[in-house]
């Protein structure tokens, strides 16, 4: 059984006709073609699918699409619309952060949620906000440096 829902993705209203229980991740990727949000574990363990729901970082893989209807969702495709997002993009380029890149959308969205709420986080606050995002390439040191650099810039 499908339902007609109106989603607000990166500032635009989008109508979808999907099963209400479908995880937001798969609506973004398979229905809307926004493939910047990645599937990692499917159980909210790794953070690869992180997006913003009304500014807070959430895991799209365990969020039913019905829970986000008529609320603001921001994905990696809309990162540049956020003040913190633009600063982070520049810092990510300066510090040459990504290696394979798979986790980086989620890393950036978690970092953007942190800086929007707390523009000058301590190292401990960065670690705490980012410890839910796994990186198999081990880019943690550069991620931390880029967040600091974006906060200073």
């Amino acid at each position: 059984v499908t339902s007609k829902l109106t989603l607000r993705i990166n500032g635009a209203a989008v109508d979808v006709d999907v099963d209400e229980r479908m995880p937001l991740l798969w609506v973004l990727r398979d229905v809307l073609g926004l493939t910047g949000t990645k599937y990692g574990c499917g159980k909210a363990l790794c953070g690869a699918c992180t997006v913003h729901l009304d500014g807070a970082a959430i895991r799209a893989c365990v969020t039913p699409v019905s829970a986000v209807a008529d609320r603001n969702v921001t994905t990696i495709e809309g990162l540049q619309h956020l003040d913190a997002g633009r600063k982070l993009q520049q810092a990510w380029i300066r510090e040459d952060v990504p290696q394979c890149g798979y986790c980086q959308s989620g890393q950036l969205l978690s970092a953007a949620a942190l800086l929007t709420k707390n523009p000058h986080p301590s190292d401990a606050e960065i670690d705490s906000a980012m410890s839910g995002n796994l990186c198999r390439c081990g880019t943690y040191a550069r991620i931390r440096r880029a967040i600091r650099s974006a906060a200073d810039g």
């Binding site: 574990c41 499917g42 159980k43 363990l45 790794c46 040459d96 290696q99 960065i126 670690d127 705490s128 980012m130 410890s131 839910g132 995002n133 796994l134 990186c135 198999r136 390439c137 081990g138 880019t139 943690y140 040191a141 550069r142 991620i143 931390r144």
Partner: protein, 132 residues
């Protein structure tokens, strides 16, 4: 590679890693830094966290809840140096991975006299008199 660890009440925490490599002539310093740090993070995950077990012919771990890897808040401080060299450039991919476990195990021995003999190093392996 040299490791610094803290062992307290059977809890192991790796606090610092120092690595010096000779890659010949350094072509891409940023790439070397990425490969080595990434390799050490992966090697350290295998040393202190990630283990696979087999039951009935199948691996039991299916996701990151059973197969944990290092998170940002568990990162040790890492210092990295390259020997200055004019020799032909060599490969550097994965060089950081395999040397972490022996360095950490040696540091554990120096800290508390126990030689861990399996990976990952588990809390029960750090008991006085434990045979691993």
């Amino acid at each position: 590679l040299v490791a610094e660890v803290r062992v307290a009440e059977q809890n192991l925490r790796v606090t610092r890693l120092w690595l010096c490599v000779d890659v010949g002539c350094v072509v891409n310093p940023s790439g070397i830094d990425q490969q080595l740090r990434g390799g050490m993070v992966m090697g350290l995950s295998a040393t202190v966290k990630s283990g696979l077990t087999v039951a009935n012919g199948a691996i039991e771990q299916t996701n990151f809840d059973g197969f944990e890897i290092l998170r940002m808040n568990e990162m040790p401080e890492i210092s990295l140096d390259c020997v200055e060299s004019a020799a032909s450039p060599g490969g550097i991919g994965e060089a950081g991975v395999s040397i972490v476990a022996p360095a950490v195990a040696n540091a554990v021995h120096a800290a508390c006299g126990i030689r861990p003999l399996r990976l990952p190093i588990r809390s029960e392996d750090l008991q006085q008199g434990a045979t691993t």
